[in-house]
């Protein structure tokens, strides 16, 4: 299949369809509405479930229901809508059913605006809701990667019976660029062996996040934590560019990472030894690789479209070994390469010589 010019939101939606999503439930919110609209068109055409729910709360709980039945289910929203889903996320994580959520982030806090942002980093990576868990969070930086990561998201969700986020921002959602869609995968024909299908010829199955007995709930948590450790072990993902001899490494994900790439190239052009580290999985954060880099680079510069959230993770990974600087824009402002370049140049000039 050849590359087509695709809008990010549409690509996210169509990728989910190709990945075999059986049910989509959502509520309109800019800047992800085209995703819902694409689903509104395509899902009924394909005989699959589509509901424009009465709210984000209803959406996520419909996803929860469909997931309990063993179907691939997803929803999508943007920042305020994601806040409303927090309780639902916690239930899904607690009952260990697979689900995929797309968050096309916008400026906040509050109603904020509809411009691109990355200020949901904390709320999606830390614990999107009460209780001890982290969803898997994947952050594409191009329309093609958005497609690939949506496909991956469904596979990871099924593999770990876990909640998986694909987080984009308004810019990626609205952007068009050439990308290639994978062929349609066949729908799963069989329901998994934990799914609710009616207790025909077998003992009833129960899916719940409730466990009044504290020792038993601690057991549940231990199992969940063990799973999270396994995910940390196996699912750290990132991309690197010009990292080999870099003294300064820019760390940015999604759109910010992509824009930083242009700045990094310019800096290289000017002779600075600068590289780019782009986390693809925000949780699990690719801390293994980053802390290895911390052994040999002179500084990190974190670039985000927020006031400094991934910054904590980079500082944790750096473990106090190298300085970690920050450049961020908020309120829906998208940094342009020129300003990131400035931040690089300023910091680079001040770099302590590690070897001296």
């Amino acid at each position: 299949m050849a590359a087509e010019l695709l809008k990010g939101n549409v690509a996210l939606a169509e990728a989910a369809i190709r990945a075999g999503v059986e049910a989509y439930f959502g509520y309109p919110i800019t800047p992800q509405t085209e995703l819902l609209e694409h689903m509104a068109q395509r899902m009924p055409e394909l005989g699959r479930a589509f509901i424009q729910a009465e709210s984000e709360l209803a959406s996520i709980n419909m996803v929860y229901g469909a997931a309990c039945a063993g179907a691939r289910a997803m929803t999508s929203s943007s920042s305020p809508g994601i806040s409303l889903m927090q309780e639902g996320f916690s239930y899904i994580a607690g009952s260990e059913v697979p689900a995929v959520v797309v968050d096309v982030m916008r400026g906040g806090p509050g109603l904020g605006n509809i411009q691109p942002s990355q200020s949901d980093y904390f709320q999606v990576t830390r614990s999107a809701g009460h209780g001890d868990y982290h969803p898997i969070v994947l952050a594409p930086a191009s329309v093609q990667e958005a497609i690939d990561l949506v496909m991956l998201a469904f596979d990871l969700a099924d593999k770990y019976r876990h909640l998986v986020f694909v987080v984009a921002d308004g810019l990626l959602g609205q952007m068009m660029e050439p990308a290639e869609l994978p062929p349609m995968r066949p729908l799963h024909t069989e329901r998994p062996d934990w799914a609710l299908t009616g207790a025909q010829g077998r003992a009833p199955r129960i899916i719940t996040s409730l466990e009044l007995d504290a020792p038993a709930l601690e057991e549940v948590n231990n199992r969940l934590q063990a799973k999270l450790r396994a995910i940390e072990e196996h699912e750290q993902r990132y991309a690197e560019q010009m990292i080999e001899d870099a003294r300064l490494v820019i760390v940015g994900y999604g759109t910010a990472g992509r824009i930083a790439q242009t700045a990094v190239k310019q800096a290289r052009h000017e002779g600075m030894k600068v590289g780019l580290f782009r986390p693809i999985s925000l949780w699990p954060f690719p801390e293994r690789r980053l802390s290895r880099l911390a052994d040999r680079v002179d500084a990190f510069l974190v670039v985000e479209m927020n006031a400094g959230q991934m910054l904590d993770d980079v500082r944790l990974a750096a473990g106090g070994q190298v300085p970690v600087d920050f450049y961020g824009r908020t309120g829906g402002m998208v940094p342009v390469p020129e300003e990131i370049y400035q931040a690089i140049a300023t910091l680079y000039a001040k770099l302590p010589d590690r070897l001296s």
Partner: protein
Amino acid sequence: MHEEIIFAGFGGQGVLFAGQLLAYTALEEGRHVTWIPSYGPEMRGGTANCTVVVSDEPIGSPVCMHPSIAVVFNNPSLEKYEPLVKPGGLLIINQSLMVTPPSRTDLEIVLIPATEAATEMGQVRVTNMILFGALLARQQLVRAETVLTVLQDKLGARKAHLQAINNAALERGAALAQAQPVE
């Protein structure tokens, strides 16, 4: 080749479509390309801009502070983007809605009475194609033939009857641009 083009005007002027047409055509010609829109709060009549990057290499940033080309459809957009265009860059202006002429001298400036011309053609909605035609005449980002093929494709059967007037508008724009001396 690496060009960053901003199309800017108000909603309903076909600003976004002009940019998309460029993007589709660039893809057709095998280039790397990105297109991103930005809007004001209004559903109709607000600002509507888009940025298109066309390049021979994979594109990092799809946004830029200083575009190499700006096509401004109305006066507020002219005021906003004139100062931002890269020195030596190209600025195409819809003269029909211009209030104060641009003052920069380090740009290639093309004034096209696009709204008037479109109205003359009996279809004010082809203003965008006139400006697009003018752009291509001054900077061959893509080939005019490819534009026509792509346009045909995008209009599809349902809107095929609009092909002729769009083609004419592209040509009209090119003609208006060529008629203007390159400063």
